[in-house]
Symmetry: C2
Subunit: 354 residues, 2 copies
């Protein structure tokens, strides 16, 4: 089946810029020939690269010389890059309905600020979140919020549960994803008040889209016990980075131990296949692609330092979100499908007046 | 040098009870012959075990039939176990000056509740913390708070920095431990307001006991970039458990990969020495022993499921804390050494009146 999905790429974003973005797009076209790409960035750099990638001949290129720097503050990026940067233009394409999703490997804070500013949050969602797949022993879990919004009241945590479930449903083809609230104990009396309150709400209100299983702890995330792990952005970001750091630390220990004697080196050579398996299991590229949730549009953040394969994983996530209509699923689950249009209009009017 | 350090053991605490506690105490006596143990618990179980452990002949045994259950809520434990449980009596020995430190592998929440209730917080410290060593590429860092107190204002975070530094100073023999505040970015504008405010205070007030280096992220904890990582208890607990979970997850991947073919199995056998090295590096027993900070007494929490070696590591931590006078170091660093006695009396009077 050929599904037409239009994806806007911020070709200038990321540590390696257009070379990786275009190579990643070519890889994704192998899997999803129905994608139509629009590339935003510097024609002088991108045009020659387009010649190299035969599959991208059909891609449209929109020239801009402005790009958001990796170290710009969100406020600076908005000031310098609004209306004209490659990042803004990719988001703008989604806003105007010219693209179904925008993808960038650029500055995360700037991307979130621009996406929020331009696309606005959905009716019923006050603050956006970033969600990504987290490798587990049984596959992958969706974990959110990874740092978009600091702090959360109970209704926001419930929204995160609903939005994360929609994403897990799409990515894992799970009818009713199991959802856990991240806490410092599994007993109902433990932890932060908003977390306990969100637990009460999720327990007492059955939802067809998700199966709330209770509190989970940090060591449950990687087990596959739940399909969705919900927490606010400060804790989520620290959990994610702590897990990444721990994986790097163990990899360093392992490398040093394997090189510590001739015998160990020989063993390593012999079991190279096993180490390759391990590397594959832990390969962060496979899990690349943070989904911005709660906005009126699909925006995906790729890791800035990833390679073509990693970038294509982020594109694939965007493709699935569009293809299986994440936004409608979330609106439906939030019970806002019918009144969505008038509410949005009212909000827009309120926004203009304020 | 023989230093007399009196340690009260809750012999009934932990998943395995007195057998592990006594075997651990015997191991610690090999390294620190100057420790005098007092054991609290059921004479019928402990007395026969004392016969087996020759080095423990000098230990005093105080009989009680009451012990705190691992699944009791703190409030229940206080109601059922106050005055008479082995856990309470060990803390009471510290309170009465009959022991220099209390150690328990029992119920963490109950231990903290009893310790806080009975020993009270130090002058200048409103809420206690739990701190432990975290393995790093260069050795170990002290991380706190691992879950004693949820949430923190800036002054509390500064207190954590001071107390954690005193512990790192003792354990790592570091004159001025490097301290980092855990945050979701290293820029000064990032993160929670109390964290930013604590950063300002630590930056602007030079302290002879610690070297504040700024914000650190989750992936910095294991690198050894800082000697002390400061965060409030909710985030700290989740970071710790996430790291433990990630280590278990990678160990599971590694085990499965190594067993996945005859060739890999042979490689594993050949490089067994390297895997033993890795296991040692990651051995949680070496880092066992959570120190309760901010109380008028030294209390150490051992992991409930540890073995004799792990338990003895917790005893050793308690020994060092007493031997190098953690409490005076903290009081001095908090600038409360001189007015400590009147302030404490005033607090006690206030506490009795309230």
């Amino acid at each position: 089946m050929l599904h037409r999905v239009r994806i806007a790429l911020d070709a200038m974003g990321g540590d390696h810029g257009p070379a990786i973005v275009l190579a990643g797009a070519e890889l994704s076209l192998l899997r999803h020939p129905g994608i139509e790409f629009v590339l935003y960035g510097d024609r002088a750099v991108i045009a020659p690269l387009l010649m190299v990638h035969a599959r991208l001949q059909g891609a449209r290129l929109v020239h801009t010389e402005v790009s958001v720097k990796m170290d710009e503050k969100p406020s600076q990026a908005l000031r310098n890059g609004r209306w004209k940067s490659s990042m803004w233009l990719a988001i703008d394409a989604v806003k105007k309905g010219e693209a179904d999703a925008a993808i960038s490997a650029g500055n995360t804070g700037a991307l979130m600020a621009m996406a929020k500013f331009h696309l606005k949050t959905m009716a019923g969602v006050e603050r956006p979140a970033i969600a990504a797949r987290w490798p587990t022993l049984t596959g992958a879990a969706v974990v959110l919020d990874l740092g978009a919004t600091i702090g959360a009241d109970a209704p926001h945590l419930v929204n995160l549960a609903v939005m994360g479930s929609a994403m897990a449903h799409i990515l894992g083809d799970i009818a009713r994803p199991k959802v856990g609230l991240l806490n410092i104990g599994v007993e109902e009396v433990k932890g932060l008040e908003p977390v306990r309150e969100a637990g009460r709400i999720l327990r007492e209100t059955a939802r067809p889209q998700l199966d709330y299983v209770g509190f989970v702890e940090g060591n449950d995330i990687g087990t596959g016990k739940v399909d969705v792990v919900v927490t606010e952005g400060f804790t989520g970001n620290i959990a994610l980075k702590t897990a990444e750091g721990t994986a790097q630390q163990i990899a360093a220990y392992l490398k040093s131990a394997m090189g510590s004697s001739l015998r160990n080196k020989l063993g390593y050579l012999l079991a190279r296949g096993a180490f390759n398996l391990l590397r594959q299991k832990m390969d962060p590229r496979k899990f690349n692609g943070g989904v911005f949730l709660g906005l009126n549009g699909v925006v995906i953040k790729s890791h800035g330092s990833t390679d073509a394969e990693g970038y294509s994983a982020a594109i694939d996530v965007g493709y699935e979100m569009v293809h299986q209509d994440l936004l409608s699923q979330i609106r439906h689950a939030l019970g806002r499908e019918v009144p969505a249009i008038p509410t949005t209009e009212a909000q827009a009017a309120g926004g203009a007046a304020s």
